[in-house]
Each structure stands twice: as C-alpha cells, then as structure tokens.
C-alpha cells in the first residue's frame, strides 16, 4: 500500500498543473493553430468513413457510442465514434472529437467497465487538450516529416520520368506512393502520442470519469493488467521482454507505477459499481469469430491464446472460443501444439455454438494422427452439417482418399 501511495504521489507530482478542462461544445477560432489541427483531422475523419476496415454494424456502433457518452458526459455531443476492425488494442481521440475504437480493444475488454475506462482515458486527452499541447511540442518533427514527403515525391517523379515504359513509370510511382503513405501514417500517429505526464494524467482522469459514470473503478487497473499479461504471453522473446504499451500509438510504457497509481486512486473512489459484463459480451458476440480470425492473422499465437483464455474465463461462447483456441495451436505447430489443437476442437465440438469447421479440422488432425476411423467420423459429421459448403468436395476428396488407404 505504501508503494502504491508513493506511486500515486509520483504520478500526481509529475502531472502538469491542472489545466482548465475545455468547455463542452467549444470550437477553435478559425485563425488559430488549433483550427489547423482540426482541419487535418477532419480530413482523416472523412477518409475513415470509406476505409475497408470500418465496422458498420449499427448495434455495435450504438453500443460503443453509448459507452463513450457515459464516459464523456457533457462532451458527448462533441464526439464522433468509428469502430474499426483492426486486431490491435487501440482507441484514439483527435482534437476535433473524431474517435476511433479498434476491434482489438473491444475483444480485450473483459466488460463494459474496462471499455469505459479506456474510452474515459481517451476522453481525458480530449478534454485536457493534450493533442494540441503535444503537437505544439512536436512541431519540429512534423516539419521534418513534411519535408521528407516532398523529397520522396520528387525522387519518385524523377525516376518515373526516366523509366523506359509507361507501366514501369507507373510502377515506380506506385512504389514511392506507398512510402509516402507510410510517412503520412506516421505523421498521423504523432497526433496520438502524448507525454508520460499526459498519459499519467489521462489514466487518473479516465478512472474518475469511470467512477462518475457509475462503473467499478477497479476496472481501470484490471484493464491494464490484462494487457501486460498478453505481452508476457507472446510467442516472441523480444515482445515478452519489451514493456507493454497501451496502444499502437503510445510511446510510453505501461509501467507498474501507473497501475499502482490507479489501484491507489480506486481506494479514494466509490467502490463497486457496474461492470456491464453481459452487455459487453452481447455486443461483441456476433463479431467474436471474425475478430479472432483477424487476431490469428497477426501470427503471435501466444498472445491470441491469452486473449481467448480471458474471454473463456466465465464459461461462455465455448464452442467458438475453443475452435479458435484449436486454430491458434494448429497454426503455431510448436511441440505438442497439434495435440492441444485436437483437444480444443473436441471441447468445441461438445458445445452448441461450435462452428461447423471444427469437424473438418478434427478430421484433418485425426488423419495426421493416423486415427483413420476418427478422421472418417469427423469428415462425415462435417458433410452432414454443411452439405452445401463450398469446400465440401475437398472434404469428400479427403474421405475418398481415406477409403483408398492413402
């Protein structure tokens, strides 16, 4: 407790003098620097609306916006929330009120309270105008990036001009175009990088917003602890040994001190409160399969398994979750992983919500094990449950080869 108190004191001491919270509904003067930032982010927001990974499920968007509004309170009308299907723990809040909430965060939040905490953290960056402060400090960097963009464009154009054919010129322009996009993306990311002090401040303000909205303030520290556990579960030594960051844009580690400060502040806030676990699971349930598939495609299967373990802790959605647990082991193929995959598929198959693909995978894995009778039963089950599946002929082919002793 003494350590926690010291941690809170250290974070509070490092925080800048309490700034005036921006007034709800405030818009910048058209001639101000802030108006320029707004214009840039208005453009980014317009692009977000056409992105391929924009999630357009109205029920999910309404849920996330509702949670954001609980955390933002009077600032709710200033904010616009976009759910993006991206398998990384991330939420962002631009100075113009444009906010992105990524599916990786929704998948990792144990309940509505944990989601509300992260959104409250982001709302705090908005209400305290952290982006404006941070961007003023990064002005030099932005100028360097802009200069680099121009030089790259010129280099690309010069190479294209000397190319032998039209398609060659186009190819070079395309290649450099991708590089420009990368630089532009890095510049956008700089809008969401904050100082260590700003992150600590947003942690504590976000937790207060959480409590004021009627949620359990303990969810704050639990949210960050879940994230650190995932880092430790990575398949890659370099990731395991790195310090956890709270988002893909974050430049400061999530140290034990920040978690301790949240635990200490929780003691000063009303204990208990709403967790909203069922509401959260109901909102994300239709997307569990697609989001877990996206997560698997990152190919850090150890981290995905940590996420699945958290989702499965309360015994819900076990058909889907065990299927994707099996997929993680099958795709990783480390020592003993195929046996674990088989066990996970079997556990999934016993559940009413098991995806039909469980039986195809069971057939394949039993065939590898030399359990031909088991493989045949699994393939038969797949064909019985999904006779119209596009790959039914492939499974039938596998069955036939079993019959032929291949």
């Amino acid at each position: 407790m003494r350590t926690s108190a010291l941690a809170l004191a250290a974070v509070l001491a490092a925080m800048p003098a309490a700034a005036q919270e921006r007034a709800a509904g405030l818009r910048p003067n058209a001639t101000s620097a802030e108006a320029g930032f707004w214009a840039v982010m208005d453009k980014a927001e317009a692009e977000a609306k056409t992105r391929a990974d924009l999630n357009t499920d109205p029920a999910l968007n309404a849920y996330v916006r509702g949670v954001m509004c609980k955390a933002a309170a009077a600032h709710c009308p200033d904010l616009r929330v976009y759910v993006m299907d991206r398998p990384f723990m991330n939420a962002s809040m631009a100075p113009n009120g444009y906010s992105e909430v990524w599916s990786g965060l929704l998948l990792r939040a144990n309940d509505e309270a944990e989601l509300a905490y992260v959104l409250g953290h982001e709302v705090s960056h908005f209400t305290e105008s952290h982006t404006i402060e941070a961007h003023r400090a990064q002005k030099t960097r932005a100028n360097v990036v802009l200069a680099a963009t121009v030089v790259v464009a010129v280099a690309g154009a010069a190479s294209a001009a000397s190319a032998g054919t039209a398609s060659e010129a186009q190819s070079i322009m395309d290649a450099t175009g991708n590089t420009i996009d990368l630089i532009y993306y890095a510049q956008m990311a700089s809008f969401f990088r904050f100082s260590r002090e700003q992150e600590g401040e947003a942690d504590l303000l976000g937790q207060r917003k959480l409590a004021e909205a009627g949620y359990d303030p303990a969810a704050a520290a639990e949210s960050w602890r879940g994230l650190t556990a995932e880092t430790k579960g990575s398949d890659f030594k370099r990731v395991r040994e790195s310090e956890t960051r709270i988002s893909v844009f974050s430049s400061h580690p999530l140290g034990a001190q920040r978690i301790a400060a949240l635990e200490t502040q929780a003691g000063t806030l009303t204990a208990g409160g709403d967790r909203g676990r069922d509401r959260h699971r109901a909102a994300i349930r239709p997307h569990l399969g697609a989001w877990l598939r996206d997560d698997l495609r990152k190919r850090d299967f150890g981290q995905t398994l940590v996420v699945i373990d958290r989702l499965a802790a309360d015994g819900e959605d076990l058909g889907v979750l065990n299927y994707y647990r099996g997929e993680a082991y099958r795709m990783r193929r480390g020592d003993g992983d195929l046996a674990k995959a088989r066990d996970a598929y079997l556990a999934a198959a016993a559940q009413p919500d098991a995806p039909v693909a469980v039986w195809r995978e069971l057939g394949d894995i039993r065939r590898r094990d030399g359990d031909l009778a088991g493989a045949r039963t699994a393939y038969d089950n797949y064909l019985a449950k999904a006779p119209q599946a596009e790959d039914a002929w492939l499974v039938q082919d596998s069955l036939s080869s079993l019959d032929q002793g291949k």
Binding site: E47, T50, R51, A52, D53, L54, D85, T140, R141, V144, V145, A148, V151, V152, A155, G156, A158, S159, A163, G164, T165, S167, E168, Q170, S171, I172, M173, D174, A175, T176, G177, N178, T179, L182, I183, A186, F236, R238, V239, R297, K298, R299, D300, R333, R360, E361, D364, R367, R368, E390, D391, W393, L394, D397, S398
Partner: protein, 195 residues
C-alpha cells in the same frame, strides 16, 4: 536527432529503391519461372519483382498497369518453411509452407498471404478442382479491399506436387481492371507446364 533519423529512414530506403530497383519487360511468349516450370504470356507484361514488398527469390511478380491495378504472382515450387510474402521482421511472421498441410490449410496459406500484403476483408471463395500442368490443384477466387476501401478481386491456383507448392495468384481492382485482363490470366494459368 533520433526523431530526424526515424523520419528520414523511409526516405533513405525510398531513395535506395529508386536508385536500384529495376522493372524489366516480360515479353509475350514462354516465360520460365525458376527452375521448375514455365508459363506462356499472351502479351507483354512488366516484371516488377524487384520492387515488390516482401520479395522472395522464388516468386515473380508481373503487372501490366502497375501493382495497384493488376498483379500476377507466380511462385516457383515452395518448400516447407518458405513463403509467398517475406516477413518484414521476426515478430511479424507471414504464412509459411508446411510439409503436412491439408487442402484447407493450403487455401488458408493463400488467403493469409494476401492479408500479409495488407489487403482487408480477404475472402477466398469457390475452391474447385483444377490442374496445374499434369498435377492436381485447387482453383479459387478471392475478394478483398484495399485499406482505402477499393474492392479487389482475385483468382488463382495452388498445387502441391513432389513436396513443393506452386501458387499462381492474380489480383486487380474489381472495377474494370480485373475483368480487363482475366482472359489473359486464365490462359496463363492454363499454360503452366511443370518439369
């Protein structure tokens, strides 16, 4: 100073790319892919292998109008542990060929490789029996989107023969470009001769 280096890193890489990358002609007629097989091109393509992201020695990349408008991947026989798209870092691996892949895993290999190229919403559809040369394979179609939301279509074939996996994959925007060269691509897929 570190910030400046970080910002200028992509610039340096790009300048190096512009200086060294070469795009060559792939004229109409027979084109050898690695040691194993050849295909017949019905028209001139550009061989843009040297400027492709995640380039590997065993994969040739052809285009007509530029890689964002049409691209045709032609892999030599991939052995276990090899990939269609080379990973940028150990911590961001891309799909690899395994020696005991099932038919559905081979299709997963294709779809996840396209994801590794940063296409979104990748769906592999209509798997169907096919021949690649004299061997059996699986034909498939594919739908995806670019990051900015442009619809993309694809088609291709994957075949495992003699312990090696061969992939031919065509990707192009759904609007105009995919259909514009589909007949040429179909002819190329049908022309593959192994061994």
């Amino acid at each position: 100073m570190r910030t400046i280096f970080r910002a200028l890193g992509p610039l340096a890489a790009c300048l190096a790319l512009a200086a060294c990358a070469t795009v060559t002609s792939a004229p109409a007629g027979a084109m050898k892919v690695g040691d194993a097989y050849e295909v017949a091109l019905g028209r001139e393509w550009s061989d843009i292998s040297n400027i492709m992201n995640g380039r590997t020695k065993k994969v040739r990349l052809l285009s007509i109008d530029g890689p964002l408008l049409n691209r045709l991947y032609l892999s030599d026989g991939l052995e276990p542990g090899e990939y269609l798209i080379k990973p940028a870092a150990k911590e961001t691996p891309t799909p690899v060929i395994r020696k005991d892949m099932s038919a559905s895993e081979r299709l997963e290999f294709v779809a996840d490789s396209v994801v590794a190229l940063e296409y979104q919403r990748v769906q592999l559809v209509r798997p169907r029996p096919a021949k690649l040369g004299q061997g059996n394979g699986v034909r498939f179609d594919l739908t995806a989107q670019t990051k900015s939301g442009l619809d993309v279509k694809g088609t291709g074939v994957i075949s495992e023969q003699g312990g090696k996996t061969y992939v031919l994959l065509y990707l192009a925007p759904a609007e105009h470009y995919f259909d514009a060269n589909l007949a040429e691509v179909e002819a190329i897929l049908g022309s593959a001769r192994l061994g």
